[in-house]
């Protein structure tokens, strides 16, 4: 067979590597800032852009989509060309992929601190950026699939299966979770409401973890671990089972984020069952990765690359065992809404994604710059300080999670809550928050050392922009061996594989989401639940803008410890007009679902003073002050559009209510301002704070009427 000469595009890999490192450092520093703000709330310096509620989404988006995202592209572009023995199909598409992705990140860095957010976790970016993400993702997928089509290697290695599954599933998740009705440029409402919105969001959120943080990195594991250890994967057979079982099962597990919520029980149970089943493929994959080193563990002593990879795979094993455990309802009752979840995701984030990325970088840069690593000592230092950083990060947070949860649930002998003031359970864990920030600092120091080490390495070598290679072309008239039919279907037909992957991941999503959307009995309506008034709706949008849902849940679970503290547990029918849902996933502050209800209701002046400076009303509070809400005028230019958008989405505002909306809004605002004036607080009714107070006072009032009628 005649050899064809071609070259691998290292330049695109270099670009993605630089972006990975730059955004890794930025994303982690933002995370450290957010962590420090929990101990020192004044750290935002009174600037709205820097409040926890706005930079927490910036941190999660930066590390997931900018750090890990660029890491995925770097690893995929490097490994795919070599596994398929061809250059990427189109250098132009590769570059559009790169620059488009960086543009999306830039727009996130600008818009999230400004408060442009959909409030849906890891999908906070507003609709114009969502469209950009979809386009760039398709560019990536097209370039990948076409590269597979014009490959010179007949067999498609399992790593590439993982890449394909990543591409198709992330596309499906992103599109379905981003259905939203634009009101204006940078403002939209989720197409779904309440329980359905929550289900779609966590179907997305869980699978963003599965198909953005896990499957592409498993692909990278299956390529880079054998490369670094210079031996094939432990069991290729196991990798096939691993792949199909993982993508089949993962997609079902989303509802485990909604245990004990108003989600129908059957959906919760499905989520639990599939989460437990996930242990099998996850651990199969982990063992496959670790056992690749069997008989070669001595290499780990000498290779920083392998050290990082071993800890990464171990962290993968730990978090994929812990995840299913947290999906058990009895465990979830303790872990949910606490820092346990934060610790859990950071074992995955810092350990699995972070360390595998670092291992990959230490492997790639000497290779691509044709030199040796500048300093093995520094790489080892990075490894140890990074590992210590993970430990110092996670242990205090586990401790904080257990402590707080137990305090929430503790009753006195007389049957009263032992800690009726939520704040007591927060101040108790502040030392753990401080230690967590220390752990994060150690981790970042390690990363900075790596940056120096890698730059010095690159400087000492010569970058190979286009790496020359040669391979024979595929025989056009290949005759498969007898009995090879299935091999051919699965391993050599990328499109068949792609379609099968789509089928595998679609089933779970469809079975969970469609019945919730179609069958009325899943969401019993409550006749006393009415749409928000225009002022409350505007207040709700401020709640979203400030990211209140990052620290406050609106979901009272059916536990005595919660109904004692907050009131009646939350019902599915209470959320039917909530586009988007605002259940939250973490209680750094108390639940607000019944903030305006009889049990918790506070005077308007309390809310005013609390937003101006939380510590005046709750001494020791770690909530930041929101003085701009009092200074800034509420933007009512879109109120009418918001009302008609809500009607389009099924909220029963009467026809033509747009005309009346602003009059009603003004009247309600004057009423609240008047009440505040009676208490000695002079504030103009046009201020934002008035709308926010209106919303907070509305929460939980719908079902307080005596004649509760449900339509089961």
């Amino acid at each position: 067979m005649e050899m064809e000469k071609f070259s691998y595009d290292n330049n695109i890999v270099r670009k993605f590597i630089i972006a990975t490192v730059v955004f890794g450092v930025i994303g982690m520093l933002v995370g450290l800032t957010a962590a420090l703000q929990l101990v020192l709330p004044e750290l935002n310096a009174g600037i709205s852009w820097l409040t926890f509620g706005r930079i927490r989404p910036l941190h999660t988006n930066a590390v997931i989509f900018a750090f890990v995202g660029n890491g995925i592209f770097a690893g995929v572009y490097y490994s795919m060309q070599r596994l398929l023995k061809t250059r990427m199909w189109s250098d132009l598409l590769s570059n559009i992929n790169f620059w488009g992705w960086q543009l999306i990140i830039l727009s996130a860095v600008i818009t999230l601190p400004m408060g442009y957010t959909t409030s849906k976790e890891y999908a906070e970016l507003e609709w114009p950026i969502d469209i950009g993400i979809a386009l760039i993702w398709v560019v990536f997928g097209l370039n990948m699939l076409m590269t597979i089509v014009k490959r010179r290697e007949r067999h498609i290695y399992v790593a590439i299966w993982f890449y394909i599954a990543t591409f198709v599933t992330v596309a499906i998740l992103h599109i379905f979770n981003s259905f939203e009705l634009p009101i204006s440029f940078m403002k939209s409402y989720s197409w779904y409401a309440g329980v359905q919105d929550a289900l779609v969001q966590w179907w997305y959120g869980h699978n963003a973890v599965a198909f953005f943080l896990t499957t592409p990195y498993l692909g990278l594991m299956y390529y880079f671990v054998p490369k670094a250890a210079n031996r094939p994967v432990y069991s290729y057979r196991l990798s096939i089972i691993h792949f199909w079982a993982l993508i089949f099962i993962y997609i079902w597990a989303g509802p485990h984020h909604l245990l004990y919520t108003s989600l129908p029980d059957w959906a919760q149970s499905l989520g639990v069952v599939f989460s437990i089943m996930l242990i099998a493929p996850s651990w199969g994959g982990m063992l496959n990765g670790l056992l690749t080193l069997r008989g070669a563990w001595d290499k780990v002593r000498d290779s920083a690359v392998l050290k990082f990879m071993v800890v990464a795979i171990t962290a993968y094993g730990m978090s994929t065992f812990e995840g299913p455990m947290m999906s058990l309802k009895s465990v979830n009752a303790i872990s949910h809404f606490t820092d346990w979840t934060i610790a859990h995701v950071h074992i995955g984030g810092l350990g699995w994604n972070g360390f595998l990325t670092f291992g990959m970088l230490y492997f790639l840069i000497p290779k691509m710059w044709d030199t040796k690593l500048h300093s093995t000592k520094l790489a080892n230092f990075h490894f140890w300080i990074g590992t210590l950083g993970i430990i110092f990060y996670a242990i205090p947070l586990y401790w904080a999670g257990f402590t707080q949860s137990l305090m929430w649930k503790e009753f006195t002998d007389d049957g009263f809550l032992a800690y009726p003031n939520f704040l007591e359970t927060v101040t108790q864990i502040l030392p753990m928050y401080a230690m967590r920030a220390f752990g994060g600092t150690l981790y970042i120091i390690g990363v900075l050392v790596m940056v120096y080490n890698l730059m010095a390495t690159a400087k000492s070598g010569n970058f190979i922009k286009n790496e020359a290679a040669e391979a024979p072309a595929l025989e056009p008239n290949y005759k498969p061996h007898a009995g090879e039919y299935w091999h051919r279907v699965l391993e050599r037909k990328p499109m068949v594989l792609t379609i099968l992957a789509v089928v595998a991941v679609s089933i779970g999503g469809l079975i969970e989401i469609v019945p919730t959307a179609l069958i009325k009995s899943n969401i019993p309506t409550i006749s006393s639940v009415k749409p928000y008034t225009p002022l409350e709706l505007e207040g709700r949008d401020l709640y979203i803008r400030e990211g209140c849902n990052n620290c406050h849940s609106q979901m009272i679970r059916p536990f005595r410890s919660e109904t004692e503290r907050y009131g009646e547990y939350s019902k599915a029918g209470e959320f039917v007009y909530d586009h988007p849902f605002l259940w939250g996933s973490k209680r750094t502050g108390p639940d607000l679902a019944r903030e305006g209800g009889a049990k918790l209701r506070k005077p308007n002046s309390w809310h005013y003073n609390h937003m101006l400076d939380p510590t005046t009303m709750s001494p020791g509070s770690i909530m930041p002050p929101y003085p701009w809400l009092i200074e800034d005028e509420l933007d009512i230019s879109q109120t009418a559009d918001k009302i008609s958008a809500m009607r389009t989405l099924g909220v029963p505002y009467p026809e033509g209510y747009e005309e009346q909306a602003l009059i009603d809004l003004g009247a309600q605002a004057s009423e609240i301002a008047g009440d505040l004036a009676d208490g000695g607080i002079e504030v103009h009714p046009s201020r934002e704070i008035i709308a926010l107070i209106a919303y907070l006072q509305r929460l939980g009032r719908d079902i307080e009427t005596d004649d509760l009628v449900t339509n089961e």
Binding site: L83, H155, R237, H487, I507
Partner: protein
């Protein structure tokens, strides 16, 4: 729509599909020729570099 008619059969169908898919997958994997496996697992290592 209030309910789905005949919903009881769905879990059974799902189980049968899942079960047979994975039985088939195991059979396929176990029956793969050793030489072929070796060829596949060495793909990352057989690069001309």
């Amino acid at each position: 729509m209030e309910t789905i008619v005949g919903i009881e059969i769905y879990p059974l169908i799902s189980f049968v599909i899942f079960f047979s898919f994975f039985i088939g997958l195991f059979a396929y994997v176990l029956l793969m020729r050793k030489g072929h496996i070796e060829e596949l697992e060495n793909l990352p290592l057989n690069e001309n570099e």
